[in-house]
Amino acid sequence: MSLSVIAAAPTIHHEAIDWATRASANGGTISTTVLRAVSDFCAAADREAFRSAIYRFNPFAGGNLSGALVPLYRGPTFGGTTFGNSTDTNVNFVSADFIETGATGGLKGNGTNKYLQTGFASNSLPSATSVHLSASATQAATSGNPVFLGSYNNTPPGLLVLDDFCSFNATGRSYRHGSLSVGQFPVVSSPGATEAHVIGTRTAAASAAIYRAGSLSTTNTTNVSTTNNALGMFVFNANFNGSPISGQFSAARLRMYSIGTGLNATQAAAFSAAVISLNTALGR
């Protein structure tokens, strides 16, 4: 093989290789297409400088349910401190709930008793004023109070939630960060059932926003005090003092989730573009 051919051969990002190794060890099967797509996402995260804002990212890939439980990122830097469970703990999902590729791709909740335990506590983040949660979903809710991911703590008061749908305070898809009864609650009214990528983020004490598909959708500038908590976040529900909340299970089909520090508009746009590219590469 000539040197020019070797130089032209596509390389796989080291974090994608690391993920594929862990996903395979957990029982997943990694196709070339998926490995390439995840590698391209990792390259974009580095190139567009949003990698360090992502503490946990699960692309819901890996060939089967066991592979889909393995997060790509578990900390803000490769080789650095990791946070949360090495794999998401699956509560009540079965293999048929996961489809890796295609228009129906993702992990499907049932709105009744299925959720994931990440083990990632919001107090793993450096500050309560620099936070983001994100998800990509189809079959999202248009009523009720289901939650994409998050945690609530009573004492000290700490609330960090990205709602599938919220019927409290305002109605719609919401990002909530504050205490149990008051907080920064930007809300998107009539959001519809598909989210290419929705980010809820707080970037300063008096600045919270929701970005959808990379564009700013709504903001909230209420300044509230809150405390990040030690509860491991749940996905498809929220961890409320250690348990999921009855009546707030999401029935959406999630295509990824992330947890990390606050994202500015440039980072949000680049992150969403990379997530959408990843999903497009997987046909979903």
Binding site: G27, V91, N92, S95
Partner: protein, 108 residues
């Protein structure tokens, strides 16, 4: 209908329409079996019903065949006891027996 009356293997479609209902004592035994033979890749956690029993969606039965995520746990269980102790009812009927969610402190 009891679990022993169910034809196995069960299809995903049929399983999703059914719920497995059992006592807290049996749930504790199943928890022990999962601790010994299961993994975090599939943790069946039953939901409480208003009559004191617990329920799981019957789709967990799609994981008990060889190669399934619950195969080892299933293989270690006493099939005769399980078959006689687990009631199978319609999923919608089981969901209707779940407690009404407690109002949350913030008024939801």
């Amino acid at each position: 209908m009891l679990l022993r009356d169910l034809s196995m293997p069960i299809s995903e479609t049929e399983a999703r329409g059914l719920a497995l209902v059992f006592s807290p004592a049996l749930a504790a035994r199943l928890g022990q079996l999962h601790a010994a033979y299961g993994s975090t890749n599939c943790v069946p956690v039953p939901s409480p019903l208003i009559d004191g029993r617990l329920m799981l969606c019957a789709d967990v039965l799609t994981e008990v065949a060889v190669g399934g995520l619950l195969a080892a746990m299933w293989g270690a269980a006493d099939q005769t006891v399980l078959g006689a102790a687990v009631e199978v009812i319609a999923w919608d009927a089981a969901v209707a027996m779940m407690p009404t969610p407690e109002p949350m402190p913030w008024g939801e």
